[in-house]
Symmetry: C2
Subunit: 502 residues, 2 copies
Amino acid sequence: MSATTSFSPRDGQIAGSVPDTRPEGVTAAVARALEAAPRLASVPPAQRSDWLRGLADALDEHSEELAELADKETALGAERLTGEVGRAAGQLRFYGEVAREGSYLGVTLDEATGTSPRLVRVNRPLGPVAVFGASNFPFAFGVLGNDTASAVAAGCPVVVKAHPAHVLLSVRLAEIATDTLDRAGAPYGTFSLVVGQQAGADLVRADGVAAVAFTGSQSGGLALWRIANERPRVIPVYAEMGTINPVVVTRAATHRMEEVARGFVGSFTLGAGQFCTKPGVLFVPSGHGFPRAVGDALAEAAPDPVMLTRAIAESVTGGLGDLFAAGAKIVRKVGGTHAGWSAEAAVLTAPIAALRPGSRLLEECFGPVALVVEYDTDEELLSALTRLQGGLAASVMTGDGTDPDAARLVDVLTRSAGRVAVNDWPTGVAYTWAQHHGGPWPATSNPAATSVGAAALGRFVRPVAYQSAADEWLPPEARSGNPWTLPRRVNGRLETRTAEPS
Amino acid sequence: MSATTSFSPRDGQIAGSVPDTRPEGVTAAVARALEAAPRLASVPPAQRSDWLRGLADALDEHSEELAELADKETALGAERLTGEVGRAAGQLRFYGEVAREGSYLGVTLDEATGTSPRLVRVNRPLGPVAVFGASNFPFAFGVLGNDTASAVAAGCPVVVKAHPAHVLLSVRLAEIATDTLDRAGAPYGTFSLVVGQQAGADLVRADGVAAVAFTGSQSGGLALWRIANERPRVIPVYAEMGTINPVVVTRAATHRMEEVARGFVGSFTLGAGQFCTKPGVLFVPSGHGFPRAVGDALAEAAPDPVMLTRAIAESVTGGLGDLFAAGAKIVRKVGGTHAGWSAEAAVLTAPIAALRPGSRLLEECFGPVALVVEYDTDEELLSALTRLQGGLAASVMTGDGTDPDAARLVDVLTRSAGRVAVNDWPTGVAYTWAQHHGGPWPATSNPAATSVGAAALGRFVRPVAYQSAADEWLPPEARSGNPWTLPRRVNGRLETRTAEPS
């Protein structure tokens, strides 16, 4: 019988092993989820919000134990991981509050007119969601991360596939989740975990699964997307994959070179560069010595990265080789001295002319590796930006309010990125109402979807319009009396929580 | 050089012929659209609303001429077609008003807190949209139909592929559109038309195209969806295809048998049954003689259908053969007496046990053909409903407010349909705020998208979050002063059009 084994990245030793879920186990998990689905869909959002708050409290309670276990499997550090447990708990509460507020239901009511019938549209949960969490955020994008939290908030049961890089943590989180949900009275089947690569593929193929949420590599996300597209009933795959996230330094910002260099190094080496929002390329005005300044800042910061997995550590080395082959030159490298899954952090530079269509320099190199590219003219900068793949995030580092290049660069960057930061680095994704963590293909599989922020719930619902239906035959959210006091649009006019007597 | 030829369905004679667009013509149309895109995206929605109103006025002005030309190519009848011109004009005005109202921009603003930066999210237009209209609604879903109107309203230029069934009308509509938009001052490239099947495929492959909107058959929609999925940069395809739309008659409604039978015949023979919302199967309590009643109503109505194209006429004959092979029996057939693309209208019946998984009886038969299926038990009814493909619409015909089966059937039908009508037939799709014209795969390629109603604009935008950006570097819709007085969510709270001084 096959099993999934995780390793301690610091020494490469086995951390533990978990038996893979057999095909009948996947079938059973999906069947449980399908049975739970109608009840999840019919309880008020406030009820699901309470369950999510219970999960958040449970995370906080077990914070120390969980961070310790996660550190053993990921080497991301106890402090960062303890913070991330808190973040995941905050997310669970946030998505619950978003559900409770009720705008995600999109309730829209048009009274009958002489020419059109009465119509009420509400968003209904899609059904069981298969969740594939990320290696690099074992809590925030893990078993109880953004995808699970927003899916349950929207009324969908989840079946999570354990990440092989932290399979022990995944199992422990699943125990906590199952126990907490059970005690809170959530339907049996609201949450399940499956283990193993084959189980993951079986899950995406399972007839009862209604959507897939994935955070991770392009190869992994696209593999699931292809499987889903070959199903008899094709289902949406929300794959958040990430690409290279460009940062542009304007001419008016060159006087901040040292600060920018330090900030860039801090951002691209954060978490050993294992962020989907890692800035992979810094475009800088030529002639100011930016490449060397960034190299010096790297030497000063002197990170000594340990990667999450052997495969990632190897891909950093391989990626560096690819970048050299594509015309990049090393500016500075440091680290790589540990046992286990150690890697070097490196700053490279390349002539802007080398960023030709199809060049490897235009693509992400996962890990603590970044490129500094000097530009002379606006034309060559804009032309290079146009050639980059669509991205999750981009930044521009500007001068003061009179910077003549800022507005145009913000506009240009929005054409290929889901988030544009000004004088902020792209790493760091707040979970708020306005957040958008998505972007054009191939950063994600769906340019309009976000995996962070209030709109994340929107991935897991579809509208249903009820035509000429009497109130008593409708679910509460669609009734004219508005028993759940939801924000609605009535006859075209937005109403904010003005309940009529029901 | 190849050409597209349309025919007069009533006699099968050639109506006219138009040269196909060469590859360089497609490239030029996309280049024009790409050049127009930033200007379309940056004008206030009210400006685009004015352009759409101009198009609507132009349709009304040319109503008689257009309906006559359409009738020559489609045989749908001058009265219906004149009405449809008016509907298309109304749609153009409606989508413009939706844009002007501004909720579609989804403006969301979170002020900075101690832990998170200032974020403003707004929906931005995707860019050039390729539009493939339907054969069966030459105006409402045609060159200036729902897709074109909602795409332009959302700020996207369109390149429309002419439908071969009414290519003369497509060219005439394009002349009117180009002329009207030009005179209104819309950017050159806002609207283009291409002709020919190869041009359509080239269009979906064109790098500059950002999304595809399609209304038509499953084979056509899925072909475009596959092409789009093979692009280096995959783009969303919003294909509205339609399946069989079930209608259930409850036990408490059997006393209305004659009325239901007449209504069903009226609905499934409307437009010669060439509606994507055509009710394809009527589930009725057994033992009341429903099949014969529907057959009698068909004989009484005595339609004599002429189909849009030779291919559709042949598919009706072929579809009938398939249904017989799958276990259906004829109850009554009439018509089929014309020259040209004539077809028989037919009522069939089949034992409910014949609706096995994979049976042809579960799928759409386009044209004036419908199935009446008797049920004995709730179990066999629910089991058959579960086996149907996801659909655009479903109906339930009930008794009075005490009907014990109504609420449960409404709930069951919402699980596989985008719209559920009570005591209304599924044909007829009002364009209002609450409308949803979409549904689970394979009724559409995207279960959350609608091609009719205010939410249709949402297909053609993607969110962008601006982080820590000064107001003067943001587009007007994202500025804190709200210069366009848009409905917004600020710090989590919905605000309806409360402009601050800017």
